[in-house]
Symmetry: D2
Subunit: 140 residues, 4 copies
């Protein structure tokens, strides 16, 4: 993988600027050679059903979109507009904090693809997916 | 299209039970022969960037997932688990209320597909997409 | 919908230039105010299983990709590169000719989305989906 | 990863039964601890344009669908119906043989997800994607 274009501190500074990211309480916890890692703490308002108490699929989709976008930022230097996303739901997230991991699939001059997964704190896979992002705004 | 299996009042009662739906402030405003219509008011925490002020793509994904799910509920009688979603982003949503419309693509015995769009109050298309839902839990 | 940028004859001339389109035997049969319609005759080599005799899902995916692409051509004047596709499978296609219908979801300056469905000759829905296409190559 | 439920020979025997797979000339070349590997030789009829000479996106979609499906077969013991697929196009495939690699994302009791990539002989990524498959037909 190519070298980083943003540091862990820069990713955190940028992600925490967003009002919705603040609501989510997301933190970028690690930036490895090929992955960005995030932590999203549980909050009661995330639930879709008051009794079954699992987190709304829209929250998981948000995490996939955000994590893939910040993988682009880590290796291309900019947060970029999302063209589209695909999200697969594997397990219900029951009142748990969530860990996300994202990486580049293909960095292109016009559009780029990144993928992400969301895990519970025990490492069980809750959701996975990918997004395509508009990277024609990025200067070489 | 087959007859409804839930009324507008039932859709609203069910959707408003969800803590995240309450946070979104969503209301089901209409149930026509083949569509369910929703209104989601803007709130400041939905923004992804404090200056550009557009709504987070994850909020739009949430609306596509929720709207398609409630189309299944309107014609199959139950809110059902999402298998996966696809969301396409067409225009930035700038500090605006949103209108969503959803309808069935195919109702099946094991899984079903529904599609949805999100519009701004002027009728401009912001996002569109589809979801596949697990309907093997539905009794005939 | 905006006016056409290609005629039915031009769509047919272009589509039949492609060796794989020739193998498929596809014909553009109609161009309405908002849809392009295609006919794809069955051929034995399309089957995925010699006994169950249904058509390979890859053939249906090909039709979704091609039909959506030619909807872009009909309203933007060019066949354009596919960025990504999503295909939903609704029913097995058993040794039947197929009809496809495609239309624009959103025509944009950089990328555009179109959707398509595949039917059997009785009008039963076999597959549906959508594609995103790179339209930054199109001059205004 | 769990142990295999099918051998390389069984995967080849099954895949080569399909008339469309025979037309594609696909061969399963390897079955590792967590991947299935395929080789698909170029043939002239795969091209979408007689001059630009690149392979039709529908062929790449077919390979993603087929490869992901056979990853399910390798670890669950059955080729299963596809619910839906997503395919991302990264580079044009110009008159080249293709190598595909596929693996399980999540094996479930009702539905399962697998992902795949398509490469040219130099290892350049041409396309990638994922499929969701109906695995409720599989006995434990």
């Amino acid at each position: 993988m190519a070298e980083h274009k943003a540091t862990l501190a820069e990713l955190n500074e940028r992600i925490k600027m967003g009002p919705y990211h603040q609501w989510l309480g997301v933190e970028v916890t690690d930036l490895t050679e090929d992955e960005v890692v995030f932590r999203i703490p549980f909050r009661e308002e995330m639930m879709v059903h008051p009794e079954r108490q699992y987190t709304h699929g829209g929250i998981l989709a948000t995490i996939i979109d955000m994590a893939a976008d910040y993988a682009i930022m880590a290796w291309a230097g900019m947060a970029v507009p999302t063209i589209d996303i695909r999200v697969d739901y594997h397990r219900a997230a029951i009142k748990c904090d969530m860990i996300a991991k994202a990486r580049i699939v293909k960095l292109g001059r016009v559009y780029s693809t990144a993928e992400a997964e969301v895990y519970d704190p025990d490492g069980k896979l809750l959701a996975s997916g990918r997004g395509t992002f508009l990277t024609n705004v990025i200067k070489d």
